[in-house]
C-alpha cells in the first residue's frame, strides 16, 4: 500500500496563477481532508469529505475548491493564487468507525510570489 500520496512535492506560483494539488489514497478510507500549515503554526482545515460526492468547508476555505468524484482522489484547486496561500499543504484520510487513526500524506510546499 502506498497510503496517501500527494503531488507535486514543491511548487512556485506567480500571483494570479491557478493550480491543482493532487491527493490519492489506496486504503479505501471514506474521510479525506486538506490542511494547510503555516510556518511555526499548527494545521488549519481547508476542506474535508466524508465520501465520494460529498464535501464541506473547514476553517479556512476561501480561495480553494475541492471535488471528490471517487473514493481514492481528493484534489484541491487554487484559483488566482495569492501570497497568503504560501504554505505547506497536507492531505489526510480517516476510516470512520475504526481505531480512529488519521493518515497524512508527505505534503506539498507551495510558494506564491
Amino acid at each position: 500500500n502506498a497510503g496517501v500520496t500527494q503531488t507535486p512535492k514543491f511548487r512556485i506560483l506567480k500571483i494570479g496563477q491557478s493550480m491543482t494539488l493532487q491527493c490519492t489514497q489506496d486504503m479505501n478510507h471514506n474521510y479525506m481532508y486538506w490542511y494547510r500549515q503555516d510556518p511555526g503554526m499548527g494545521l488549519k482545515l481547508i476542506y474535508y469529505s466524508v465520501g465520494a460526492g460529498i464535501t464541506d468547508k473547514g476553517e479556512v476555505p476561501n480561495g480553494y475548491n475541492v471535488s471528490r468524484s471517487t473514493t481514492e482522489d481528493f484534489p484541491l484547486r487554487l484559483e488566482l493564487a495569492a501570497p497568503s496561500q504560501t504554505s505547506v499543504y497536507f492531505c489526510a484520510t480517516w476510516l470512520a468507525g475504526t481505531y480512529n487513526e488519521q493518515f497524512f500524506g508527505p505534503g506539498t510546499r507551495l510558494t506564491v510570489l
Binding site: L43, K44, G58, E59, F90
Partner: protein
C-alpha cells in the same frame, strides 16, 4: 470555538533526560490525538485518548488525559535523538465526529547529544 494551547512552544533537552509537553483545551475534549512531525515531513499518529484519566504508552512515550478532559500531557522518558521533531495535539470537537479536528500550534523538541 474550541482552542488548543500547547506548552512549551519549544524545548531543548539533553539526551537521556525526561520531558513533558502539555496540551490544554478551552472546552471539554471528546477525543485527543497526539502526532509527531519530523521537520519538513507529514504527521505521524502517536496515540488517541478518549476517556478521562486514560493513559497510553508507545515505547518511551506516554500520554495522559486528565479526569476533566481539558488537558493532556505527553511524557518522554530517557529522550533520544530520534524523538526530535514537532509534537502536535489535535482535538475532536464533537463526539466521534472525526470531521473537523483542530490542532495546537505544536511543540518543537530538540535533543542535545
Amino acid at each position: 470555538s474550541q482552542e488548543l494551547e500547547q506548552s512549551p512552544q519549544s524545548l531543548i533537552v539533553q539526551e537521556g533526560k525526561n520531558l513533558t509537553i502539555n496540551c490544554t483545551s478551552s472546552k471539554t475534549l471528546y477525543g485527543l490525538y497526539w502526532y509527531k512531525q519530523k521537520y519538513g515531513e507529514g504527521l505521524i499518529f502517536l496515540m488517541m485518548l478518549q476517556k478521562g484519566g486514560e493513559e497510553k504508552s508507545h515505547e518511551k512515550i506516554t500520554a495522559k488525559l486528565d479526569e476533566k478532559k481539558q488537558q493532556s500531557s505527553l511524557h518522554i522518558t530517557a529522550s533520544q535523538p530520534s524523538h526530535a521533531g514537532i509534537y502536535l495535539c489535535g482535538a475532536d470537537p464533537g463526539y466521534s465526529s472525526a470531521s473537523k479536528i483542530i490542532f495546537g500550534s505544536g511543540t518543537r523538541l530538540s535533543i542535545r547529544p
